[in-house]
């Protein structure tokens, strides 16, 4: 049972403010992903939770206990590092058993727990090897096994898959998700890879410039981004934006079309995901600039109202460069943002 609570945490490195007033609660057994571009503060936040970094301000609570004054070893956490940090002078067995030995557990219990987690991570045949004799994927497994063997309340992962090749990453993603769900541990997972975040998380905290912009379930973050940054960061190709001027009574003028929208003061930004449009009789007039057949879909980069505008269309359609399309946005998928505050407008 371990809920994590972060209260008003801020971190400054000299003049540089790495984190601004972070508040976040991670429920027991929840899989929370901290997602953001490099330098957004996600790793700093993770390291503050782990105790490898001290917060300038604020409190960290784990399992109802305030821990921000404790050493990493006293916080009930385990961590998986980006470069695995598998000890080169120890065998795989001793690596996995390292934390257990530090707890001075009896030999047979260490052996039992090491073997169990090694089997769980499918590395039971590697126990006698040294880290130099392992592939990147195998080292990754050792690092995860070492953390799991501790049976921690909380497991912290810092871009654990970023050094693996694409295929292995996909495989490990699914496996890690399964193993963690089974172990019933609370997990915080840092990544810059939105696919990883979407596929693994119970909840995603999108971070930008030292702040959490939105913390919500993957589908919520995707469908209802709370800010322009989230909308642009999540989804590939990214969301399209067009400026909208008020046309009275909840109607908005977008690239020569009048579209239903919120009752708000203008101007606003109209936003739509590329896959939420289809060719139709009426809609946005788009001139195709680049046509990329991707097999499953057709990605068309067009120009609407003098702006780049992407549409993911059915691959059966034939579109050539220079064609003029009329694209109708799916009404329930249209989102609106205030260009001043960059926040979503309901």
């Amino acid at each position: 049972m371990a809920e994590i609570e972060i209260r008003n945490v801020a971190k400054r490195f000299g003049d540089y403010q790495a984190l601004h007033d972070i508040n976040l609660t991670v429920a027991d057994q929840e899989f929370m992903v901290l997602l953001g571009a490099s330098g957004c503060g996600k790793t700093t936040l993770l390291r503050i939770i782990a105790g490898l970094e001290t917060a300038t301000e604020g409190e960290v609570w784990i399992g109802g206990k305030r821990v921000d004054h404790l050493a990493p070893k006293d916080r009930g956490i385990a961590m998986v590092f980006q470069n695995y940090a598998v000890f080169p002078h120890l065998t795989v067995f001793e690596n996995i058993g390292f934390g257990l030995r530090m707890q001075k557990l009896p030999n047979d219990e260490v052996k039992q727990r090491v073997e169990r987690t090694a089997t769980l991570m499918h590395i039971e045949q590697l126990l006698k090897r040294y880290s130099g004799e392992l592939s990147g994927g195998q080292r990754q497994r050792v690092a995860v096994a070492r953390a799991l063997a501790m049976e921690p309340d909380v497991i912290l992962m810092d871009e654990p898959l970023s050094n693996l090749d694409a295929l292995l990453r996909m495989e490990m993603r699914a496996e890690l998700k399964g193993v963690l769900a089974e172990s019933k541990t609370t997990a915080i997972y840092v990544t810059h890879d939105q696919v990883e975040a979407m596929s693994m998380a119970d909840r995603i905290s999108v971070m930008h410039q030292g702040k959490i912009v939105q913390a919500a379930s993957p589908i919520e973050v995707y469908r209802n981004p709370s800010a322009v940054f989230v909308a642009g960061f999540i989804g590939n190709p990214p969301m399209n934006f067009l400026s909208a001027t008020p046309a009275g009574d909840g109607k908005w003028q977008v690239a020569g079309n009048v579209i239903d929208g919120p009752h708000a003061k203008g101007p606003l930004q109209f936003a739509i995901r590329p896959e939420d449009m289809s060719p139709s009789e009426s809609g946005l007039t788009a001139t195709a600039k680049v046509v990329e057949p991707l097999g499953a879909h057709l990605l068309v980069t067009c120009e609407v109202d003098g702006k780049i505008f992407r549409a993911v269309l059915d691959s059966d359609l034939t579109v050539k460069t220079g064609d003029v399309l009329t694209l109708a946005p799916q009404a329930d998928r249209v989102r609106w943002f205030n260009p001043e505050t960059t926040l979503a407008v309901a």
Partner: protein, 279 residues
């Protein structure tokens, strides 16, 4: 004739170049080894042969010179003193220097650059000169003419190297390994002893040996600071004009032997140490 002449010019200059290259390498090796070989001949010859003329260019494998050396009054004590001072220097310089090397590699702290400059500065100083005032200071503190007093001075000589070498060694161990140990239940100290120390031990040994050699070879401070408890170098130096040739050569040989072994033992680290120390 003509076919041979047209075929070869492509390969010939290259081949010639390779011979010149090989000959150059060989000559430079000989340049280092031949003088050592001469010393070996002299050491393994009887005192009479050492003083005779002309010299033979092969040793006669007579231990006369070495036995004379061993029997010469004070020589064995000097040898023992040399070893003691060098071992003390080795321990002191690592014990005092390694923590600073660790601090330099792991922490950003105010005054770090000043400290680094101070260390580099000592390396750029004719340190043996400082033995002169130390002689006075040692007399006052009772450290004069002691093994320990000399070891302290030699430690000052070896210290900049110990700090810079351990600095580069620690920098080669990813911080992540230590952090992993902390999250797995280690304190700073246990993480150091269980993770960093085992990984760094070979390098530490190399830099300790380096400190040993520095002390072993040091002449000036040893001659200034010791009177009764001469080290081998000091003993040989102060008796240069009075001692017979075969004694000098046997002494020189004894001085050289550890050097040969030590350089062999640390050869892997020599270049790595300087590579990082230069940055």
């Amino acid at each position: 004739m003509t076919t041979v002449a047209t075929d070869t010019p492509m390969t010939d200059p290259r081949k010639a170049g390779r011979y010149v290259y090989a000959a150059g390498v060989f000559l430079l090796c000989a340049w280092v080894i031949v003088p050592l070989y001469f010393l070996l001949i002299n050491t393994l010859s009887s005192p009479e042969a050492v003083n005779a003329f002309p010299k033979s260019f092969v040793p006669e494998f007579d231990l006369g010179s070495l036995t004379f050396f061993a029997g010469f009054a004070g020589m064995l004590t000097a040898l023992k003193n040399s070893i003691l001072v060098a071992v003390l220097t080795m321990i002191l310089s690592i014990a005092v220097g390694a923590p600073a090397g660790y601090a330099l590699s792991r922490f950003d702290f105010r005054g770090k650059e000043v400290f680094r400059m101070l260390i580099l500065l000592t390396r750029a100083f004719p340190l043996p000169l400082l033995a002169l005032p130390l002689a006075v200071m040692f007399i006052r503190t009772g450290l004069d003419d002691t093994i320990f007093g000399l070891a302290l001075v030699h430690t000052t000589l070896a210290m900049p190297f110990a700090v810079l070498i351990t600095f580069s060694l620690f920098s080669g161990i990813p911080l992540e390994l230590e952090e992993a140990a902390w999250t797995l239940g280690c304190t700073r100290l246990t993480a150091f002893t269980k993770v960093v120390l085992p990984l760094i031990l070979p390098g530490i040994t190399a830099s300790a040996i380096f400190a040993f050699v520095i002390s072993w070879n040091e002449v000036f401070a040893a001659a200034v600071l010791t009177i009764e408890n001469r080290t081998l170098t000091a003993f040989l130096l102060t008796n240069l004009d009075t001692s017979p040739l075969h004694l000098k050569f046997a002494g020189g040989f004894i001085l050289v032997v550890p050097a040969l072994i030590f350089i062999f033992a640390v050869r892997k680290y020599l270049f790595a140490m300087w590579g990082i120390a230069n940055r």
